[in-house]
Amino acid sequence: MASPAPHHKPDLVCPAGSLRALTLAIDAGADAVYLGLKDATNARNFAGLNFDDAQVREGVSYAHARGRQVLMALNTYADARDDGPWRRAVDRAAELGADALIVADSAVLAYAREHHPELRLHLSVQASATSYEAIEFYRERYGIQRAVLPRVLTLSQVQHVIRHTGVEIEVFGFGSLCVMVEGRCALSSYVTGQSPNTAGVCSPPAAVQWLEGPQGVDARLSGVLIDRYAPQEPRGYPTLCKGRFLVEGERDYALEEPTSLNTLALLPQLIEAGVKAIKIEGRQRSPSYVAGVTKVWRQAIDMAASDARYAVAPAWSAELARWAEGQQSTLGAYERPWR
């Protein structure tokens, strides 16, 4: 291989659950926003969220007028009963001027490749591609130009993947943390019948019940007790892997604590590794979350890619802490404190 390519500034890719979030993200400095349609074709299929065709068009024109991009998430698996919505979503993305599609399902990739060969394809994190061999599989067959890595790899594993593939690599920088490999988790469907792969939801709100009892406040998911809070204890959303459970008589967060991923401290290493884009999680979050988080990451990326000495500004940490789940954050698998 020739001498390493010069490091370039990674794109900041921000979530847009609504047109309002989209415009705020662009105004705050996102290089690209990602959005989904109002149906089960994307992994944040929540009521009141996402875009219809007119909104996509408006969002695309807002972004393009400012030299930014719109990526469309089409990252659930087509339903065996009717894959029409997934095919139509590909057609709509092409027609509405999306700059790329974020896809997990090989059938959807094949359809896009065949019918819209000009459309840029990104491999969604939901495709669970954790090695360069897996990424090559999708590149050779479907011509993917970028892959989003699952949040399970260490920094050195991310570097290793980048060294061995010509596909652009996007990683998660901030937001809610899946401790399980994305696209490989059926915990939600075990409890509720709906999972990220099949319905674009995890621990869906319709299955959540809050009940006050003599022992505190119970958070249940389809009747299963996910957590029980003392009266004064702060409460979190009962995502089922983030509850407190009993193992050998010990009650604890047995899988994952309610915490957010925050890799600000690792940004220079990620850039040096050659990461092409940093993704912010949270299409289900409010427009003010998007604006606040985007602004911090814009400043951080600009500083990390400049000649200035990089340091995480206290103001950035303070702002991100406002938006972190459970007001805590972690470097996640990148630094692997549990290794």
């Binding site: 359809y111 669970s128 954790t130 897996a134 399980m180 299963v224 996910i226 459970f245 549990w338």
Partner: protein, 318 residues
């Protein structure tokens, strides 16, 4: 009465750390039973070393000599170069040894299989996310001969994807369908080892504590409801998926084979009961009653087959 199609029985890959002697004994016992296919290999954690790839290969050769079919499974979650090297070894071994096939755990395995100079027989493993007919068509094109459906996929979807009357075909011919029929379900995978975490140990110095849990480590809700099972980097259902009463629905959906996942006690009898119900007319209700009396690690459920939550038990009309 129409003759019932025979459903093949496959032993799913062992999910747990079992001591060598129990493992060897369990497979020797199963080899005597009505099972025709075994999926072998470590599918949970690459650190486990009680039974190495060489050991699995030796067992595989024994089973092939005993007239069984063998698949070598690859990991569903690969993260390191060492794991990729192991994947390549598994595929090379399978190419060299007549009678061995591969069960692809992830897309890296598909990539390596596609690069073989000669086409190898292989199965599309249950974690490959094939949820529609078009997706199965895509994967069939790679040369697979069998499709193990995702655990959460309902039988009505299986029937739509690969119906008996309109099989998906690939270079290896018509694709066979295999469905998970018995056992604790591996529902999720992580980079993190939950067993080590519970014992306050790091993953790299885990002391192989999962050896203490022949069926995984039970996780219950705060009010004591058995819920999930910690098994290293895998999280399983506490309940056991059981499709012993679904013979008619399975055949109607075009299912060719049922996959039975080993548990530490009573499993040889479980296999016999499935065979007796599916092929010898034993009433499913009777078999189910006997299953419930066996020292199995959890309750029996079947929700996923019926497009419901996986932990639900829907009593079928037997």
């Amino acid at each position: 009465m129409e003759t019932k199609k025979r459903l093949g029985l496959t032993i799913a890959p062992l999910q747990y750390w079992w001591p060598r002697t129990s493992l060897v004994q369990a497979y020797a016992e199963l080899a005597e039973g009505p099972v025709d296919t075994f999926v072998l290999g470590e599918v949970t954690c690459s650190r486990r070393n009680e039974f190495t790839l060489l050991d699995w290969l030796a067992l595989a050769r024994d089973l092939v000599s005993a007239g069984k079919r063998v698949r070598l499974a690859t990991l569903p979650l690969l993260m390191s170069e060492a794991e990729l090297r192991q994947l390549r070894r598994i595929i090379e071994q399978s190419a060299e040894q007549a009678g061995f096939a591969v069960e692809a755990g992830d897309a890296a395995a598909l990539q390596r299989l596609a690069q073989q100079p000669e086409r190898l027989p292989f199965t599309l493993g249950p974690h490959l996310n094939i949820y529609s007919r078009a997706a199965l068509v895509e994967h069939a094109g790679l040369g697979a001969d069998t499709w193990a459906a995702p655990l959460e996929l309902a039988l009505d979807a299986v029937a739509r994807i690969n119906p008996p009357t309109a099989r998906v075909h690939g270079p290896a011919g018509a694709i066979q369908t295999e469905v998970f029929g018995f056992g604790r379900m591996p529902l999720a995978f992580s980079a993190r080892c939950f067993t080590a975490r519970h014992h306050r140990l790091s993953k790299d110095e885990c002391e192989f504590r999962c050896r203490d849990d022949a069926d995984g480590l039970l996780l219950s809700t705060t009010e004591g409801q058995p819920f999930l099972v910690l098994n290293g980097i895998s999280t399983q259902s506490a309940a056991l998926h059981c499709l012993i009463g679904e013979g008619a629905a399975l055949r109607a959906a075009g299912v060719d084979r049922l996959r039975l996942s080993p548990c530490s006690q009573g499993f040889a009898r479980v296999v016999e009961l499935f065979d007796a119900v599916l092929h010898a007319g034993l009433p499913a209700a009777e078999a189910r009653a006997e299953l419930q009396a066996l020292p199995l690690p959890g309750a029996l459920v079947n929700g996923f087959a019926h497009r419901q939550a996986g932990m639900v038990e829907e009593v079928s009309h037997v």
